[in-house]
Amino acid sequence: MAQIQIGDTIPIVNLKYCPYDPKLANACGIPQVLSTESFKGKKVVLFGVPGAFTPTCNNSHLPEFHEKFSDLANKGVDTVVCLSTADAFVMDAWGKWTKVNDKIIMAADGNGEFIQKTGLSQDLTKMGMGAVRSKRFAMVIDDLKVVYIGVESAPGVTVSGATAVLAKL
């Protein structure tokens, strides 16, 4: 699958997430469907990570988007979404761990449908992490159309980080 490009429309896929609820701080949330169709009419920053709780994701990628959330909102971003191929329970737990609260939707692409349809899948079998994982990327989606995409070609956070995304907004 060729990688999605600027100007392309994102595929309509059902992701899953546990809506933020402060009452469930220490309990497991209940996964709900999040259709990418709900991004219609919105400006969405979506960033994908190979895994939850991994060093790069945990120490820099997710926290930077969290810290810069109001800068993103000031530039007209309606929703910030963090995606991985873990399930909604793991994404919810990770969000609670990093205390992103309701600022970032922690979305699970558990079957890898979104990343496969956008050509953003990578095989991490050699690292014992399975064949269907997300590349590290960020995209800005305006009314379902991709207006920015940055995909990391090496470990680390550059083109997919909050700073790079802000510079393109």
Binding site: C28, F89, G110
Partner: protein, 168 residues
Amino acid sequence: MIQVGNKIPESILTYIPYDPELKDACGIPQPLNTDEDWKDKKVVLFGLPGAFTPTCSLQHLPEYAQRYKEFKDKGVDLIVCLSTTDAFVMDAWGRSLGVKDKVLMVADGNGDFVKDTGLVLDLSAKRMGAIRSQRFAMVIDHLKVTYLGVEPGGGLTVSGASAVLAHL
């Protein structure tokens, strides 16, 4: 599916060794070769569909950690919790529940162990992917299965700590 009396398939799993000084930092995954590491041990291994899920977090894993001493008293060398997520998630989950070094949190990230033992579960319909572990418990003595309990439904019976202790 693997049966009592069978040898477990040689598998390379990964885990992050417990380190009390490592609080918020991410540890570094290490390989674990089942044939080498478990050849002279009595191991209680339990597998579950996912980390941080309600049944797993609230019952399955905590019960094993709480009854750690009873397992030790019955000659168990090692208690292992396995799922098809990666070692980072298993480590984070173990830390969030405070299991410390009582339960080894192991990732079967490629699903080799659950596939080779016939214990794989397809949860695509729940959008959790095609390669997940059934909820099961196994006693492995010098690499041979001496007890196997696989849950027939959504609850926790034959794979729980009580059921396993009763067979030891």
